[in-house]
């Protein structure tokens, strides 16, 4: 963990230089649309109040985490069953490709029209957005299990369920992790969109509200916080995946 934090901080020097440049160029900016980082930072303490944390940050956190968990777990489970069965795979591939091809952003209004607005809807929106990359990667991982590995399962007299959960699913770890990582970004994106579209709470709502009331520095604060959250979530992901499936990285000689 210690070396992990150190490596993470070490990688921060490029963004720090970029922000320094921004500060130097815009240090005396009076243009309200392009505040200097120092102005945004000064504004931060007015924005981040207990009330704000409670309404915006907490709501966004719940939306993202619940949506991500529901979407990824169901994606892995449904994907596993579809991937293991050729007929199901042939039936569902065109449908999943069709729905997947519709940008997640475009699906949000549809889901809102069906479920209304509220926390549950936002969670459902994120879950559905996360579901599709998870379905695709899991189906692919399960469908491409090494024939030799499957033969071994047959020789061990494993039935279909045992083969799926004890052999094919762990063998698809690489694809599933790829899907889970991509789903982090998609989840944040859809979380923000669902909050922007008329919910009134959450980080996305805060950003759109600040922008429409000309609180441009506030808007920038919101955007920065989103960026930081994305960064932290991605790092957290990289940190966790090596603890959940250490064998995967070590057996492939990755660190």
């Amino acid at each position: 963990m210690k070396t992990y934090v150190r490596n993470f901080l070490w990688r921060l020097w490029v963004p720090i230089i970029l922000i320094a440049f921004w500060q130097i160029i815009l240090r005396n900016s009076t243009n309200p649309y392009f505040p200097a980082p120092s102005q945004i930072l000064a504004d931060t303490k007015y924005v981040i109040t207990a009330d704000w944390v409670k309404t915006s940050l907490r709501s966004s956190a719940i939306t993202f985490l619940a949506g991500y968990l529901i979407g990824s777990i169901s994606g892995i489970l449904i994907g596993a069953f579809i991937g293991a069965n050729q007929i199901l795979r042939e039936i569902f591939t065109p449908i999943t490709n069709f729905i997947r091809s519709i940008p997640s952003v475009a699906k949000v209004p549809v889901i809102m029209a069906m479920l209304g607005i509220g926390q549950a809807t936002r969670i459902a929106t994120v879950a559905i957005a996360v579901l599709f990359p998870m379905l695709m990667t899991t189906i692919r991982g399960i469908a491409t299990t090494d024939m030799n590995v499957l033969e071994m399962a047959k020789l061990l007299r494993f039935g279909q369920i045992r083969t799926l959960f004890l052999v094919r699913l762990p063998a698809a770890t690489g694809e599933i992790l790829t899907g889970l990582q991509a789903a982090v970004q998609i989840g944040i994106l859809v979380m923000v969109i669902s909050e922007m579209l008329g919910s009134g709470i959450g980080l996305g709502a805060f950003i759109i509200h600040s922008q429409s009331t000309f609180m441009i520095a506030d808007m920038w604060v919101g955007i920065f916080i989103l960026g930081i959250i994305g960064l932290i979530l991605n790092e957290l992901f990289l940190y966790t995946e090596r603890r959940v499936a250490p064998w995967y990285f070590s057996s492939k000689g990755l660190r």
């Binding site: 030799n148 590995v149 033969e151 007299r157 494993f158 064998w247």
Partner: protein, 257 residues
């Protein structure tokens, strides 16, 4: 040492042919018997269909015609009395499981207490010289050690039939000799009927009581050779025995067709 014949399975391969996709005939009219407790080597050049034949015997695929009987009953699926070792240990051992859990895989679906399972895993690992490696992952071990793990797994259920598909083709020459002796020793101790497929003439003669040569395309049995070298066999001594050299010469000619 004389084997006790009752424990192992007797195998009868009757007129087995296999054609893939209705046109690509790999095996043609193959028949042979394996007595209980016997070690049979199937020897043939690469690509002759040895592995296909093993897959049929083990019940993984069905023959196009003919059939295999193990103790008089027709093979339709892999038997739970059969241990199997393949060439490619990196794919037959699961990298997400420790060595101990890999060896314990055949217990899945059997009602065996955790204590007994652990005990038998320890025994099996000890029998292949891997005491204390239970908690390691397969990819942390050398190729030879991984193949030892695969052998331990194949024998943990005390099978009556052991099938080895080019088991030593992926390890280096010295380890190969060690593993040959390990397998010969374990086969003797377990009194298990054994079928080993190899393209190595010397290995076939060194391990087997009888060698079958497969050649031509589609493959047929071109030679059956009884190996009457005394046991236990010793690597360098046995291999330089004039009888060994003569068998070697005969088998080589048999494989050439």
């Amino acid at each position: 040492m004389k084997r006790i014949p009752e424990r192992g399975f007797a195998i009868s391969v009757r007129k087995v042919s296999k054609t893939f996709d209705n046109e690509n005939q790999v095996l043609s009219d193959i028949s042979f018997e394996v007595a209980s407790g016997e070690v049979l080597a199937i020897c043939g050049l690469s690509g002759v269909g040895k592995s296909t034949l093993l897959r049929i015997i083990s019940g993984l695929i069905a023959p196009t015609s003919g059939g295999v009987r193990i103790n008089k009953s027709l093979v339709t699926e892999p038997s739970d009395q059969m241990g199997f070792v393949t060439q490619d240990y990196s794919r037959s051992l699961f990298p997400w499981l420790t060595v101990g859990k890999n060896v314990a895989l055949p217990f899945k679906g059997h009602n065996i207490s955790k204590a007994e399972r652990n005990l038998r895993v320890q025994e099996a690992l000890a029998s292949v010289g891997l005491e204390g490696k239970s908690g390691a992952y397969p990819w942390q071990l050398s190729g030879g050690m991984q193949q030892r793990v695969a052998i331990a797994r194949a024998l943990i259920m005390k099978p009556r039939l052991l099938i080895l598909d080019e088991p030593f083709a992926s390890v280096d020459a010295y380890v190969r000799l060690e593993l040959e002796d390990l397998v010969a020793d374990l086969v003797e101790k377990n009194q298990v009927t054994t079928i080993i497929v190899t393209h190595d003439i010397d290995e076939a003669i060194y391990l087997a009581d009888r060698v079958i040569a497969l050649s031509n395309s589609p493959a047929t049995v071109t030679m059956e050779l009884a190996i009457k070298l005394k046991r236990p066999r010793v690597q360098m001594a046995t291999r330089s025995d004039p009888k060994f050299l003569k068998l070697r010469d005969t088998l080589y000619k048999g494989l050439r067709g």
